[in-house]
């Protein structure tokens, strides 16, 4: 019998495989958590107050007749879930975790926005994890992923679950970078030092431990990496798209 042509992997799956391989060499564990989340893990535990606008009906999908149940709006709930589970198993920091997975936003879809999309979360906790480690880790990740010289920079930002909070921009500088991207600063993700309340909510003593966290859209990363022009292909199931990868 003739061997069939090899099928194609979804670009997001390839990115997750690659990210896991880069991060696992830096000691990161792959963690996951439920997509249908509780408001506690999705918001409260992450220091997002009850009356925060993001908790309004507009942005979050709620579940009928299930109080407190939401479709997670980010991969960050796994931060607290992971730390709690580790402590329960008697494992103290250091923790190094990545969480790739699907997330949801209740918004109209267009070429750059989808109601369901993928994120990758990163979490590092220890007695002496610093903002400089965050910069070093992300810089290394992008250099591996884009196979060449990459610069990153931080800009001030705000997230309830990190303090200080930063936006992370990236710039590809090698001459063989795609022309559309070469030399241009591109906003990649939000990040920062974990807010002490988040550590507390997970059961850790913020006087003893600190760390950083980051969250990045994988769909957007795929768009940049391969020059994809419409994010809606990701869930289209269309092989004219998928078989290019």
């Amino acid at each position: 019998m003739e061997t069939p042509l090899r099928g194609h992997m979804h670009p997001i799956s390839s990115l997750i495989r690659e990210a896991n391989s880069i991060f696992s060499k830096m000691g990161f564990t792959f963690a996951s958590g439920p997509l249908l989340e509780s408001e506690w893990y999705n918001f409260d535990a992450l220091n997002v107050p009850k009356d925060h606008p993001a908790r309004d009906m507009q942005d979050t999908f709620f579940i009928k007749d299930e109080k407190e149940a939401v479709l997670r709006t980010h991969t960050s709930p796994v931060q607290v879930r992971f730390m709690e589970a580790a402590l329960k198993a008697g494992i103290q920091p250091p923790y190094r975790v990545i969480v790739p997975g699907k997330v949801f936003r209740n918004e109209a879809t267009d070429m750059t926005h989808e109601a369901e999309f993928f994120q990758i979360e990163g979490l590092v906790v220890g007695p002496d994890v610093t903002l400089a480690h965050l910069k070093g880790t992300l810089s290394h990740f992008f250099q591996e992923l884009f196979n060449g010289s990459v610069e990153i920079r931080f800009r001030p930002s705000f997230f309830p679950f990190t303090e200080p909070s930063v936006e992370v921009d990236m710039r590809l500088t090698s001459p063989d970078a795609p022309e559309k991207l070469r030399g241009k600063w591109i906003e990649m993700m939000g990040a920062g030092m974990i807010h002490p309340n988040v550590l507390k909510n997970a059961g850790l003593d913020p006087a003893k431990y600190q760390g950083f966290a980051f969250g990045m859209g994988l769909d957007r990363l795929a768009l940049l990496r391969w020059g994809i022009d419409d994010v809606r292909y990701m869930h289209s199931g269309d092989l004219r798209f998928i078989n290019q990868f």
């Binding site: 069939p4 792959f30 009356d51 009928k64 610093t130 400089a132 920079r153 930063v166 002490p196 391969w226």
Partner: protein
């Protein structure tokens, strides 16, 4: 928030840098900038104030203070530098606050004998630069103070309020169910008991929606002579809820939503009373300041050691104290600990980490080095579920299956989404079957285009069934029905090294239908099939989507070559006629080379 550079400049004696440099300073030390627009000789900055800085930075003064700290240029004058004394106190206005949690502070100011008229040129220009309409000198003065220091201000026409024994009575109270008021936007609003109004207590009518908008019943007009000014503090959450419920979000409500410091109110009253007297005349009768629980001073401490431990820096005490000084924070330095007294409008600073953020953003994130994490002595645990998905994926791809992700939303299911924007597919799926069936159907017509003999698909994804969230694997192909099963975890000691996508660039595909044509010919044995293919491709040009040699055999001195051509346009549906014409042209070209078309 829109910020006028011209307005900002008034806070400084030294000229501000060029707009591009000023924009960069703000971007890298404070806030993202959405754009800078030139307008009538001024540059207007559209600044994205983060939610933690709505307390102080939805104002020109707030941005000026930031610029002063970032660029290390002193503020020539700071309207918030010295707490003003509001004198004299008057008994002509009574103020009652029903709920001090909703309204921690309410200052009323009574000014008699103003002349309402057009605003002076500078004031009109300032407001118009922000896209605001100049109304009259009184209303403009209240708006100016709001855009200047971030404190909303409102003016009532005193003559339209009821009087008793020569005095007025203002109440901040819950609206009554069904209570209505015509607001200054000429629209009538109906309230619920969850909303709060400003009422003329003697007449018992609403004259304003607390923290949101003034009412027509006491609006300032051309004929207004005596005014009562309101500078108050309202709680953020109820104002936000009321504004949302009434679909009436105003510049005032947007500021209260962010929560303002009660201390700001006296500055606002002082500034607006002064400005009104300057541009509209009148005489201050006096003020009433209801402020039952004055805001407490916030003190936050941080050690230099902690700053450096969090940031991974080796800053000196002098560098940290320089930041506090530039920000105008009062502090004491004891040992290596800084005890900082936070300016009252900076409600965002409550813990040591907040001070660390102030230090790092002012000195600049570019000063943070890139440090690799030290190696760990433990091997990271293998995720058995991810390991299982990776193995399943490899196995299926080797068997010719391609991976799809379809939506988790479905027509039917056990658990419904409460608030789907479009109300289509309102359930969480219970199966992968529907998504895979649909995907198969969608891909079938594209088989030739894809160069596939058979469409084979798989999906690894979650379903919500029997009250559980379960990871499933589903497959489908033309020849077999959809199958799905629970993906069992697979423990391992390490991950296998598996291939990644080798794609370098995605090529957009046409959304228009394609057409398939075959052409076969006899050619001499010495002919290179690849060269023939290139000749055909050149002849067709950009309408050729794909060409492949699908058959080749030899007979004596001759070879038979058969090519399959796929035609497709990026901007239209091709017609039979034009494709046939192209095929005829190809045939002629090939014949001219001495090939025999079969």
């Amino acid at each position: 928030m829109l910020v006028s550079k011209h307005w900002l400049q008034k806070f400084f004696e030294t000229p501000l840098p060029e707009s591009e440099a000023l924009g960069a300073a703000i971007t890298f030390h404070a806030f993202e900038i959405d754009g800078i627009n030139s307008k009538d000789g001024d540059d207007i900055f559209d600044i994205k104030i983060t939610p933690n800085r709505g307390h102080d930075c939805l104002s020109h003064r707030g941005i000026a203070k930031e610029v002063s700290a970032i660029l290390k240029i002193p503020l020539a004058h700071d309207p918030l530098s010295e707490t003003p004394v509001l004198a004299p106190v008057t008994d002509k206005i009574k103020v009652t606050i029903e709920d001090a949690d909703f309204c921690p502070r309410y200052i009323a100011g009574y000014i008699k004998g103003v002349s309402v008229g057009p605003s002076p040129e500078w004031l009109r220009r300032n407001l118009e630069s922000l896209g605001q309409r100049s109304i009259n000198n009184i209303v403009d003065a209240t708006n100016f103070v709001m855009f200047n220091i971030g404190q909303p201000v409102h003016a009532f026409d005193a003559a339209k309020l009821a009087q008793k024994d020569g005095s007025y009575s203002i109440a901040v109270r819950a609206a009554r169910a069904g209570e209505k008021m015509m607001a200054l936007d000429n629209k009538e609003y109906a309230f619920t008991e969850a909303m709060s109004v400003i009422a003329d207590a003697y007449a018992d009518v609403a004259v304003g929606i607390a923290g949101i908008k003034g009412g027509m019943p006491a609006g300032v007009t051309e004929s207004t002579k005596d005014i009562i000014i309101e500078v108050a503090n309202f709680a953020g959450v109820p104002v936000r809820r009321t504004a949302a419920a009434l679909k009436l979000r105003t510049d005032a409500s947007a500021r209260y939503e962010q929560v303002l410091a009660p201390t700001l109110a006296s500055f606002g009253m002082h500034l607006v009373a002064e400005l009104i007297q300057k541009i509209a005349g009148g005489e201050v009768v006096g003020f009433v300041d209801m402020y039952p629980a004055p805001q407490k001073e916030m003190q936050v401490s941080v050690s230099l050691e902690k700053i450096n431990n969090v940031l991974g820096t080796s800053l000196t005490g002098a560098e940290a104290s320089d930041v506090f000084m530039r920000l105008g924070f009062a502090y004491k330095e004891e040992g290596d600990v800084f005890d900082v007294i936070v300016p009252s409008e900076r409600l965002d600073i409550t813990i040591a980490e907040d001070l660390i953020e102030e230090v790092v953003r002012i000195i600049g994130y570019d000063k943070i080095s890139e440090t690799m994490l030290p190696p760990l002595d433990v091997v990271p645990a293998i995720n058995a579920s991810f390991n299982a998905t990776e193995h399943a994926r490899e196995d299926l791809m080797a068997r010719g299956y391609s991976e799809v992700y379809t939506s988790v939303f479905a027509e039917a299911g056990e658990r419904a989404v409460l608030n789907k924007v479009d109300s289509v597919l309102p359930f969480m799926r219970t199966t992968l079957v529907d998504g895979l069936t649909e995907a198969l159907k969608k891909n079938m017509p594209n088989k030739d285009l894809l160069g596939l003999k058979e469409i084979k698909l798989f999906e690894i994804g979650y379903v919500w069934k029997d009250g559980k969230e379960t990871l499933m694997l589903g497959t489908v192909s033309e020849k077999e029905a959809v199958k799905e099963y629970v993906l069992e975890v697979m423990a391992a000691d390490s991950y296998e090294v598996l291939p990644l996508s080798t794609a370098t660039n995605y090529k957009p595909f046409s959304k228009y239908p394609y057409m398939v044509r075959d052409i076969a010919m006899w050619v001499p044995a010495s002919t290179d099939a690849q060269v023939v293919m290139e000749q055909i491709a050149k002849e067709v040009g950009e309408l050729l989507q794909k060409i492949s040699l699908f058959d080749r055999f030899e007979k004596g001195e001759k070879i038979s070559l058969a090519y399959r051509l796929i035609f497709q346009s990026f901007d239209r549906t091709l017609t039979e006629v034009e494709v046939n014409e192209i095929m005829a042209k190809i045939a002629e070209t090939l014949k001219a080379k001495g090939f025999e078309i079969r």
